[in-house]
Structures are given as structure tokens and as C-alpha cells.
Symmetry: C2
Subunit: 468 residues, 2 copies
């Protein structure tokens, strides 16, 4: 059996890719990824048209997608996140069919249950052997976990592994085993390491960010959840990382032995593991080199699939066992609905990722955001797009006060008892608008450019085209 083929063209041909099929990609190489572009370019050169692209995320490095959309090489997109480069073009209406946004948990669930079948999965693999055993832990383009690629590998009709580091058979420390893989292609480079992982992720030095981070840590301390067995997820944003730093100090001071850290993992979470704050890290994606080094060498740092991470299911996921998560927002409304899909002008520049999943699964979902950005208030009457429903959001932390979702009376009392600056979200909105003024209401078009699919599988919200 010979899986190693001479070229990407041969792999595409052998995989039987033809007009109208669905191809899939993972985003572990993030803004350094070469693979999505190289596959679509090759498909375009082979005259293949009307592909449906199911990519876990679309980054700014993927702006060649815009040309492929215009040439009808690509006529459908499903993703969990779309950066502004492609996002703003989508918002201008270049794609006839609305983009389907899912979350990091619902994407693999819908692949697994057959709702969004994949014809050919292209797996960017930082190291692979000639039979397709592959991993993200080694190689010049090492990215750590391959958690988002696993459902693609398991359920796609054909699976093509693309690597720039071919190792002897068998790659013992495989993340995806050969029995899922049809073809292996070796290329010069699957990505640009500078775009794949940050050298280091940095905590904020901004005073506003530090105030928010301090509040966030105190909210967690006051919540009653910070005790032995505590579990935690946070994003890679500067204020979130600062909150993790403050939280670590509290945990060490109080000698609290947490259980696990979850998520996209940064060096700061690795520090907490090494300091004894957690017993393990459950890692679906590595954000920086320290996380990559840790998942490669520390058996307490475990790679998990996106299904295991966050898929909505009767059997649950790690997200469903999470105590506290700190998340961001571009907008939050007075019903606590959060928008992370569009900017304040209505242009697509993000997406849920795991936001919606861990908000739903965690005991305490905290949004941390400044009161305003570029004179636009964070709190609005109604978000432009509901990424995460307000029922799953417990508290908003800003530099100007902490607003608790009225559903969470006990939490509000705990924060008040702890002397924290609790306010209500309407008051916070008004307070902000005194500084910024009341922003003009966004005038949006009447053409749907994207649907946001909720965790229940139904359309949760629709994003319309932008009218200049």
C-alpha cells in the first residue's frame, strides 16, 4: 500500500475531488497556514468549481479565498471564526450563499452526525509518517494540539495529510492514526512559523486592562467556585491573561489545588500547571511556543479532540465540567447576549470559536471587556449578532463596574458581600454613553450574508450585508 503521493495534484485527483464537493481544513496553523490556500489554488488550476469549504477557522492569511469566491471555485463556506480580511468581503456580499457559522463544539458534532458531511479533509500536519500517522507536536511548523482536525479525520470520506516534516514509520506519538488517512503529500512548508504560534503571549500593561483583570480575579475568588478541584479556561487576550496571572497568585497564596485548565492553552496556563494550580491541562489548541513545548513533553498536558472539548451531546464534554471561563466580547447587550462575530460597523471579523460552548457548559461565564472601544460603548440595547445567548452569560466585568446577569442572584450577592463594584447593565450602559455619547444605530442591509447556528442546531441569528 502506497499512500505517499508525489504531489498535491495527485492527491486531489486520487481523492476524487470534483465540482460541488465539500473540502475541510483545520486552523491550528492559524494566521501562518499555507494549506487552505495551496489546496484551493491547486483545485482551481485543475478546473474544479463550486466547492464548499468547511474550515474550522478562516484567518487573514486566507484572503485568496476572496478571489476563489469571485471565480466560483468556492461557493459555500462553513466556519467557526472568520477574521476581518475575508469577513469584510463576505459582509459586502461577495458570496451568494450565506456563510454558516458554528462553534468549535457544534462543528465536529455536525460532522460526526452526518449533518455536514465532508468529501475530502486536508489535514495540515507538522509531522507525519508515510502511512499518515501524524501530529502537531513536532516539526518546523509545530503547532501542538491537532484537536480541531480529529473529527475531520474520523468522518471525512477521504483524508489527505499534508506535511513538511516526513518522519520514519511509525510516528509513535501520533495524534491522528493512519487508519483514518488515505493519502500523504510532502510539501516544502505547510505554514509560516511566525504566524502559527506566538513566541510568547503577553499580559496586558494597559491600566484599564489591569483594572478589569483584577476585578475578574476577585469575582472568581468571591464566586465560591475557587476551591480544591477548581477548573478554568481563559482566552489569549491581554486582559484575560492578566486575570489568569492574578488568579494564580490568589491560588498559590490560598494553597488551592485546582483540577484542570481547559481550552486553547497559553504559556500562562502552563505556568499554572507547573506551579501546581492545576493537575492537568486539556488542550484543543496551543497558542504559543511554551504551550507547544509543554504538550510535547509533559504527560499532564493532554491533547483532546474538539468533540471531547465541547461538542453538545447527551454524553457531555470537558466544557460541560468547567467551573469558570473568562471570555471577550465586541458587544454585549442589556440581555447579556454577546457578539464576537462582527465589529461595531457590522463587518464580520471573528466568530464564536469555543465561546458559545464553554459559556453554555461552565458554571460561571465571565465576559471581560472595556466600557468602550474607539468611543463605541461595549453595552448596547441589542447586539448586531448573537454569538452567545445571554442566558449562558453570568457576569460582565469592565473597568467601570461589574454587571451580574439578573438570573444569577446568588452570584450578585456574593460579589456585593465581597465589596466589589457591582452595578447593573443598564446603568453601566448609561454611564458609558455619558462618556462616549449615544452611538448611531447601525443601518444594515437586507441580504443575509451569514447564519449563526446555535448549539441546538437551529439558526440563532443572521448577519446581514453592510450598507455604506
Amino acid at each position: 500500500m502506497q499512500k505517499l503521493v508525489k504531489s498535491l495534484e495527485e492527491a486531489i485527483r486520487l481523492a476524487g475531488l470534483t465540482d460541488g464537493m465539500t473540502v475541510s481544513f483545520h486552523h491550528h496553523l492559524r494566521n501562518g497556514d499555507f494549506v487552505l490556500n495551496m489546496v484551493l489554488e491547486q483545485a482551481a488550476n485543475m478546473g474544479i468549481r463550486e466547492l464548499n469549504v468547511n474550515a474550522s477557522s478562516v484567518f487573514d492569511c486566507h484572503t485568496p479565498l476572496i478571489g476563489h469566491i469571485k471565480n466560483r471555485v468556492v461557493t459555500g463556506i462553513q466556519c467557526n471564526y472568520m477574521a476581518a480580511g475575508v469577513g469584510s468581503a463576505i459582509s459586502q456580499g461577495i458570496l451568494e450563499k450565506p456563510v454558516e457559522f458554528r462553534s468549535h463544539g457544534t462543528r465536529p458534532r455536525d460532522i460526526a452526525c452526518g449533518k455536514t458531511p465532508i468529501d475530502v479533509a486536508f489535514i495540515a500536519a507538522p509531522a507525519a509518517d508515510p502511512m499518515g500517522n501524524c501530529t502537531g507536536k513536532y516539526g518546523k511548523s509545530a503547532c501542538g494540539s491537532l484537536g480541531y482536525a480529529m473529527a475531520d479525520a474520523m468522518f471525512a470520506k477521504k483524508v489527505v495529510v499534508i506535511t513538511d516534516t516526513l518522519v520514519d514509520y511509525p510516528l509513535q506519538d501520533f495524534s491522528i492514526p493512519e487508519n483514518y488517512v488515505d493519502y500523504v503529500v510532502q510539501v516544502d512548508a505547510i505554514g509560516d512559523p511566525k504566524g502559527i504560534v506566538s513566541g510568547t503571549t503577553q499580559i496586558t500593561r494597559d491600566p484599564v486592562g489591569l483594572v478589569m483583570a483584577s476585578h475578574a480575579a476577585k469575582v472568581i475568588e468571591a464566586s465560591g467556585l475557587l476551591k480544591d478541584g477548581f477548573s478554568f479556561q481563559t482566552g489569549a487576550g491581554g486582559a484575560s491573561l492578566a486575570a489568569a496571572k492574578f488568579l494564580k497568585d490568589i491560588m498559590l497564596e490560598k494553597n488551592i489545588r485546582g483540577s484542570f485548565g481547559l481550552g486553547g492553552i497559553t504559556g500562562y496556563m502552563v505556568d499554572m500547571l507547573q506551579a501546581g494550580c492545576f493537575q492537568s491541562l486539556m488542550d484543543v489548541q496551543c497558542f504559543d511556543l511554551k504551550a507547544v513545548e509543554s504538550i510535547r513533553t509533559d504527560p499532564r498536558h493532554r491533547e483532546i479532540s474538539a468533540l471531547h472539548y465541547a461538542a453538545p451531546s447527551a454524553r457531555g464534554s470537558v466544557a460541560d465540567n468547567l467551573d469558570v471561563v473568562i471570555l471577550g466580547a465586541t458587544e454585549i447587550d442589556t440581555d447579556f447576549n454577546v457578539n464576537v462575530h462582527t465589529d461595531s460597523n457590522g463587518y464580520i471579523m471573528g466568530g464564536s470559536g469555543g465561546h458559545t460552548d464553554v459559556a453554555a457548559g461552565s458554571k460561571l461565564c465571565m465576559i471581560i471587556a472595556p466600557m468602550f472601544r474607539a468611543r463605541l460603548p461595549i453595552v448596547t440595547d441589542r447586539v448586531n449578532a448573537i454569538s452567545t445567548p445571554g442566558r449562558d452569560v453570568n457576569v460582565l466585568v469592565t473597568q467601570g463596574g461589574i454587571a451580574v446577569n439578573p438570573r444569577n442572584k446568588e452570584l450578585k450577592q456574593r460579589l456585593l458581600d465581597a465589596g466589589l463594584p457591582v452595578t447593573d447593565i443598564q446603568t453601566l450602559k448609561e454611564k458609558t454613553e455619558k462618556i462616549t455619547g449615544v452611538p448611531q444605530k447601525l443601518v444594515r442591509g437586507d441580504r443575509p450574508v451569514a447564519h449563526i447556528i446555535g448549539r441546538d442546531g437551529e439558526i440563532q441569528d443572521t448577519i446581514y450585508n453592510v450598507v455604506k
Copy 2:
């Protein structure tokens, strides 16, 4: 979400087990397993009847099955191996429907493709957390790899984990993740450690065994396959282990840096890993405590699923990449067909396990067996049951000579050139019969008691009832 239930009865009820369904079990606890018996007894007590039991193997500890068959609690059996205890009863015709024998590779393939669907999988787990993350590496009943249980977990409609070592969530070093598990039951003991793994597996001291082992090692040396990158599998029988020991000496002497050891893993294979003969062990099952310790602590020793190990598939398996395997036989015929299912009296006392798979996948499949056992010759005109077709068997090694399959002319020449005692299988048969006499032909009944399903999914042979 609460997966931890109070009793096995509750788990069976919640899993919806009713008359006529299929239940599945793995055999990593081997002759120490309590779980198959405890589940069937509970089901019987609950009045459930006509169950189909899909067990990767049935051991002598499972003789209570005989009573369940007689009471029609169990009316169908699928397995890859059946020891003499239940096997002799089956051979006497106690089960109306013929047993279906598969191999360690075809069983998970048929589960995965939906040919043999499982309603409820019961997974004996030496350690598990309350959400069902589980492993065989830890706990008082530690068995090492859970490779044979993985397809059951992935594809069964309901999955019940049964453990005697419940650990805090999350069990970081999981083999089967929680997202496959519906219910978790804690019991006092899932097995008897004395029957699960041997303290040590022993190489033979029998002079005949040592002669065969020495021949076996020399055949490998002469085959042309023993060079850098060499890969190897052997069983846990005394002569096979002695062959591994001799092989290790040759590899160290010649400074040959092999690639991987495969299979059911013994301490002898661990020794070869540690001595540098292999770079990794790919482990679907641990045979002794040293192997369990190694898979728990040595990252070069990797757990693999039975699908990855040996499933027949266009995508291949590790078995398909294997150089040399040493296997046993109860009979081998002049067409090199091997029987490991029945004894010389026609009673079921074994099964393929991985025999058929690695014979098909390897470059060199060697059968090692004494010329006769209890005055019954090993070579016959026609085996009582074809476990592994002769086309996949390359050479038979006995103390009285080495017979090469006529399909393998190059191999025969290599062995002759090396001065090994090459003979042909007909001559070996006649030579043996001069010692033992010609055995009486077995008179078998006309009622099928078992079908052996080949790797192509078709019935490869049928085992009939025994007539006294």
C-alpha cells in the same frame, strides 16, 4: 449531567437493554475478567433474554456463559477467541446459532462499518473518572492497553464503563474519552489480578522449544528482512519468547536498529525496546506486568486501537506494515492452512485473535510448532478448521526441519544458502508420522457450531459439532 449510577442494574436499565439486543465486551482482563459474568448475571436476574454477546474473546473464567446459553439468556455469540471451557460446550452443540469467529482486525472493522452493530458496550475499566474518561494503565486491576475496547466505545449505541478504581475528574491519561460514555458504574472488583496479567511471562526451557526458537531466529536472520527499520511481532508462548530472546541477541550483536514491535506485548518486547532493538512498541494488549508498567511510563510504548492494529481496510493498519511475525498453530496442513480454533479432537479451544490479520499483513509469517503434541502430528492433509489461509503463511519451523511455502521460492533459497535444515511440508509430515503413526481421521458431526469469518467478510470455514 450525572453519568455515575448506583448499580449495574441501574446502568443496564438506563441503557435500555432489552430482549434480543447485542451486548459487547473486551478481553483485556483475560482469564481474570469479572465483567462479562456480572453483566450477564444481572441481565438474567432482570429477566432479559436472547442476548447476542459480541466479546473480543471468551476465556475459561466465562464458563457461566454455558448456563446462560442453556437458559436462553444468551442465544448468539461473536468472538475472536474462545477457550476450551466454553468452547467444548459449544462444540457439543449447546448453542442453536453457530458462533461467529472473527479476528482482532475484522471484529472492529465490522463494528465500525455497521455490519455487527452493538446496542450496549460494557467496558471493564481499571481506572475511570465519573464522566467516563477511562484507561487500563492504572488501578488495582491494571491491564495496560485497552486497544480492543475502542471500537466498542466509539460505535456502540450506549456505552457503560464499569470500574473498580474511580478517580477524580478528569482522568488526564485517558484511553477512551468521556464523549463516548453514557454511564459509569463503580464495583468492588472488575477482575482478579492473578488472571489479568502474568507476573512474568517465561521463555521455554524445553529443549525442543529451544531448538525451534533457535531455528526461528536464524530464519529471520537469513530472510533478508533483519536490517535497520526491522519490525516484529511475536506471541506470548514459551518458544516464541525464546525466539525473541535469540533474535534480540542477533540484533544487538549486529547493531541492528529496528523500527517497531507490535501486538500483544510482553516484557521481552519491552526488553528489546529498552535495549534499542526497537524505537517504539505499538501495543493493542499487554500480556504481563512489565508491559503494563512500560505502557504507563515509557512514551515510546504506545497504545493503539484494534482498528489501528489490524483492521482490513483500504487505509491499512500497523499489521500491514509489519516485517516478521512468529505465530503458533494447533494444526497446519500441506497447503500451509493453519488451525488455531480447534484441538485435534475437533473441540473449540482458541481462535484467530490477531493471527489471521498479521499473517496477511506481514512480509514474513512464520509458524513455530513442535512436530507433534501428545503423539498427534502437527502437519495434516487438511486442517480441521482454517483459521489462517495457507496463502498468508510463509514458513513452518519445527524441531525436525523448516518447511517453506512453495509460493516463497526466494525465501527457500535464502534459508538453504544459510545452511538451515529446509525440508518440504509433505516430507515433514511423513517423517512425523513415522514417529507417531498416522492418526485416525476425525469424525465430525453435520451440524455447524461455528463459522470462521475471513478478512474478506465471507465465511472462510465452518466448525461442526463433535461426535463422540
